[in-house]
Amino acid sequence: MSTEVVEQSFYEKVLEATPRGERLRLCLECGNCSGICPFGYLMVYPPSRLIAALRADRFEKALSTDAIWMCVSCYACTAVCPSQIPLTPGLMARTKEELLLAGNVPSELQNALANSQRYGNPLGESPRKRADWTNGISPEIKILGKTKQPVDILWFVGDYPSYHPRVQSTAKALVKILNALGVNFAILGPEESSDGDSQRMAGERGLFEMLADKNGKAFSKYQFNEIITTDPHAYNALKNEYPRLGISYPVRHYTTFLAGYLDQIKPLLKSEVKAKITYHDPCYLGRANGIFEEPRALLEAIPGVELLEMTHNHTNSLCCGGGGGGMWLDGFQWEKAHTRLSEWRVREALSVGANVLAVACPYETPRFEDAAKTVQGAAQLKVRDIAELLVEAMENERGEI
């Protein structure tokens, strides 16, 4: 295959698969994308250089490097591009797709993809045990496959809140809040599969479509009015990607859903939480989907809380390093960078005097807690999901709401 054919087909793939993909042709080569990229200094081919390589018929050279796997799909480049090129979902995800088809994939990532394919979750856990985290919770959480009753809210729990021991705590906190508000909700349990968004951004579009198809079939079996998600990546997939595959439901991230209940939540927040909290905008809630204020409104409602902003906030937030496959490339990234984005973020939280780093994405709690173990002076920094902080303010000393 001639180089020209490769590039033509690559251009076409980007154009057809991405809304506004044709804007790739409008690159000014200003370099903003590469400058703002948190790993731009070791990407070898950061976005602007990739586009230059495409234009100069030297794209195959770009495909011979594995440094593109340093891209954490954080949308930082996309947010600053003056030509509004969809760099993250278009150029970067498509380039990873080419690398994946050519077999140029770090083995850590292969495991997560193979697990997602076989078990419907990147952790390689049994799909039958997806709702095991709900064991012992009272009142019993409704699983649609068992109750088959229409509900108001279908809660898409997600991979990490279902299986990861630390992140299960976020799921359990959310249960308490939903029950306290009297929300009529249910989950899919074993019928839920990974939303597939991070796999898609890691170049595995076919896997994403397979997972979306499974979830779409599960959704279509039951009656509900709206979906809420724990995970901003799931929110992004359901809101922006699933509809293009014919799977279309009203969806909100739990923070926007709860912000709609603020008047009912406020009287429930009886215990003071004396804390200096700084909020980390998750990439797929903030930059990718423009949700900045609702999470802050929830935190500000907690009595005793002083909310501080880090240097990088809102659109300019820093990635935790887990997006675009980064969640499954820790070893690879460490070998290349010898630093972690999560450590950078923890240092920022400390530098503004925060003692709690609040998050709203399931990737972040374990990533930042791990980082806090290695960053000097961070031993006292608590990492809490917004749902966990709300529950802390709702419960009395006996743990009752």
Partner: protein, 254 residues
Amino acid sequence: MNIVVLAKLVPDLVEELTIDASGAALDMTFARLIINELDDHAIEQSILLKERSGGQVTVITLDLEGADDVLFTAAAKGADRLIKIKGDFAGGVSNHALARACATIVKELQPDLVLTGVQAHNDIDGSAGPLLAECLGMPYVGYVHGIAISDGKSKVLKEYPGGLVAELDVVLPAVLGVQASEQPPRYVAVSKVRQVMKTSKIEERSASEWDANGAPIIGRMFQPEASTHATMITGNADDVATKLVGIFKEFGVL
């Protein structure tokens, strides 16, 4: 180079295993099958050999749940022929019967090299490789982690305990039990597997005989059972030491 790979489907240990009502076999109702990990390495090794020096790769497996996935994934990696052995396997799969059934089909393919994983976690009656070699009248080498072919001869790296490795000249045709492929098994994109599903064909053969003679008859299969032989000695270090000395004396070792 004509390479045949035998891949087994085994219970996936991510799911919990239960014993069926007979008390002598696994309950397969809820078990999920997965390719034996070392057979996946055998497939990878066959593809590496094909990429290095050309040839044809045929992958054979039994017609159990998941067989098509295993075969199409192998094709997406580069396997040329896919064969599924049909039969009634409800009574379980012993390696003795598997080896006999495969041998008939493998003989027809006239392979230069037969690869399979060196072991599987359900090898109750010994591993499949040596049994197959016996049926085919071919030499067998197990615990292989490297194969080089030139001029119809093979040089094979075989692992021994204690970190020792031997380089052996093996006369072909031969059966090799793969311990590890030279590279980790590759990942193939779902889209590639889907494409292959449209273009590849799975050949179906029936097992001419299904003879488990030689395999042991299982009397009882059970989960690990807790025994009550351990005695916990409690107290501070001095107390524990005194009690221990007393016990040693009682057993006559002091």
